[in-house]
């Protein structure tokens, strides 16, 4: 069962167009929001607003990235796969800006506090671990590195699911009460992860036989 009668194909120029548009939207959004923060147009506390914007932005982008391969397979629209790496790298960009905002504007470069908070506060430790995973995935995303890694590349990049779970834990843990928007994100993550878990099981079953 597929949604489209014919696989969706994109010409080279169409693909480039989509990429340029995505760059525009994702980057411009980040810049416009920071510009608003600098000019005090981001509510009473621009620092908290930007920390939330970049954190939730990274999560949204991560979920979007993880939707690419099921969409490519089931629509079917194999051309979408050409967009996955770019989106994935933006997940890291947003997450990294999230950390930079926290260090520079929330803690204002009080480095001893930065270090002690990352070590002492479990929810920040967990967030940091997710970011380091994303860093590893970003650094191994150029084609050349991918070829060098061979089969190990896929196992490394499967840790993106661990990064997702760590990021969600970080998000939930940062809240003062439990019944809030992180619940919605856990739900979305479950929807994205469950079919993959089944795939993983059947594949392992085949290997045994």
């Amino acid at each position: 069962m597929t949604l489209l009668s014919k696989p969706l194909k994109l010409s080279l120029w169409q693909l480039r167009g989509v990429k340029v548009a995505l760059h525009g939207v994702i980057l411009a959004w980040l810049l416009v929001t920071f510009y608003a923060g600098i000019n005090d147009n981001l509510g009473a506390d621009p620092v908290k607003a930007l920390i939330h914007f970049t954190g939730i932005g990274a999560l949204n982008l991560l979920l979007l990235t993880l939707l690419i391969s099921p969409a490519a397979r089931y629509l079917p629209a194999p051309a979408l796969m050409r967009l996955r790496r770019m989106l994935g790298v933006y997940v890291f960009v947003y997450a990294f800006v999230h950390l930079l905002t926290y260090i520079s504007f929330e803690l204002q470069f009080d480095w001893s506090l930065v270090v002690s908070e990352i070590i002492k506060r479990p929810y920040i430790t967990v967030g940091m671990a997710a970011l380091l995973l994303l860093l590893a995935l970003t650094m191994t995303s150029p084609n050349r590195v991918r070829q060098q890694l061979g089969k190990r590349w896929q196992s490394l990049h499967n840790t993106v699911y661990i990064a997702l779970l760590l990021a969600l834990l970080h998000f939930s843990w940062s809240r003062k009460t439990g019944l809030q928007e992180p619940l919605i994100y856990w739900g979305l993550a479950l929807i994205i992860l469950l079919p993959r878990l089944q795939n993983f099981r059947t594949r392992r079953g085949k290997r045994k036989n």
Partner: protein, 331 residues
């Protein structure tokens, strides 16, 4: 060389930005939709993205005398920020939910009961609340447990006047406070997803000597006018040396008792929020340091300065209330 342009008049940004513009920008950002699914959720509690803004609550001008001795001269947090960045989970857990969801909140008629271990229980009406006691303006620091702070010019009267009026019995040791419970008006009390799943009504408490301290204020106004609903209209507690969550909003009852009363955040997470909740840089919240705070003032991203947090939020005159008490244990 060209001549440099010099404006004939200069404005500060605070002179220019109108409150309504400030509010409109926030809703614009929200409607851009990138604040995530969470924004969708909190929006469902309000009128929705495409409806016109509901009319804002009208605040009345109040008469008062300024108390300079008990006021700080640090620069104040602008009115627009004081009234748009609030923790009032009855109207939603987001900082800007209360300003959006509370505008039609009814403050008149109101009834505030003072009862329990008192000789003369009394009930104050809305007019009593504003008129029974002479109002003072006091500029206090407000330190939130989330490590941000503001400087706010409150209008109000000392709680000790109210309590003395009711004549407390010798056996009274504590004071218990309660916020209005009205799920029809308060979406967070109707729907645990909007209210963060905490138990309502919100309750707070003080030891009687803390309640009688001259710094402890019952506030009915801010910036010369009656309190907007998001700040706890028509009457709220202000205890400047304790974390903000102690300063309970929209109070309907004050009960004197001989037992330590339950308090909302302590009930939810006792290891994170104690009964005393005195501002203390040496006792960290389990999830973040309390050694410093970010002062929310006028200006954007580059004006939000991190400053050291002082013990008792700098109100050292309350220290004698806690002699011989281990404040690490009684946090």
């Amino acid at each position: 060389m060209t001549k440099q342009f010099k404006p004939s008049q200069t404005f500060k940004s605070s002179d220019i930005t109108d409150e309504s513009v400030f509010a409109a920008r926030r809703s614009l950002l929200k409607s851009m939709g990138f604040l995530g699914a969470g924004a969708l959720l909190s929006n469902s509690a309000s009128a929705g993205w495409f409806s016109k803004d509901k009319p804002a609550f009208t605040a009345k001008t109040l008469e008062f005398t300024r108390n300079d001795t008990l006021s700080t001269d640090e620069s104040m947090t602008p009115y627009a920020k004081v009234t748009s960045y609030n923790n009032f989970y009855e109207f939603g857990t987001g900082k800007d939910d209360p300003v959006e969801n509370a505008q039609s909140f009814k403050v008149d008629p109101w009834s505030l009961k003072i009862d329990g271990m008192v000789r003369k229980p009394i009930t104050l009406s809305y007019d009593d609340i504003l008129q029974r006691f002479a109002l003072e303006e006091r500029v206090y620091r407000l330190r939130c447990v989330e490590a941000w702070s503001m400087v706010i010019p409150w209008l109000g009267f000392e709680l000790n006047k109210l309590i003395s009026f009711a004549e407390p019995l010798g056996s009274a040791k504590y004071v218990a406070f309660k916020t209005l419970f009205d799920p029809k008006q308060m979406p967070g009390q109707r729907n645990p997803f909007i209210g963060g799943g905490i138990e309502y009504p919100y309750v707070e408490g003080l030891r009687l000597d803390e309640a009688m301290h001259p710094l402890t204020l019952m506030s009915v106004g801010v910036y010369g006018k009656t309190l907007p609903p998001q700040n706890g209209a028509p009457i709220r507690l202000v205890v400047p040396w304790k974390y903000g969550f102690k300063s309970i909003k929209s109070v309907v009852s004050i009960t004197l008792t001989d037992r330590e009363p339950p308090t909302t955040w302590n009930r939810l997470a006792a290891h994170e929020y104690g009964f005393y909740a005195n501002v203390n840089p040496d006792v960290a919240h389990p999830r973040w340091s309390q050694a410093s705070e970010r002062r929310i003032t006028e200006g954007g991203l580059f004006s939000q300065n991190r400053i050291a947090t002082e013990k008792f939020n700098g109100y050292h005159e309350v220290a004698p209330l806690y002699t011989n008490m281990d404040l690490t244990r009684y946090y």
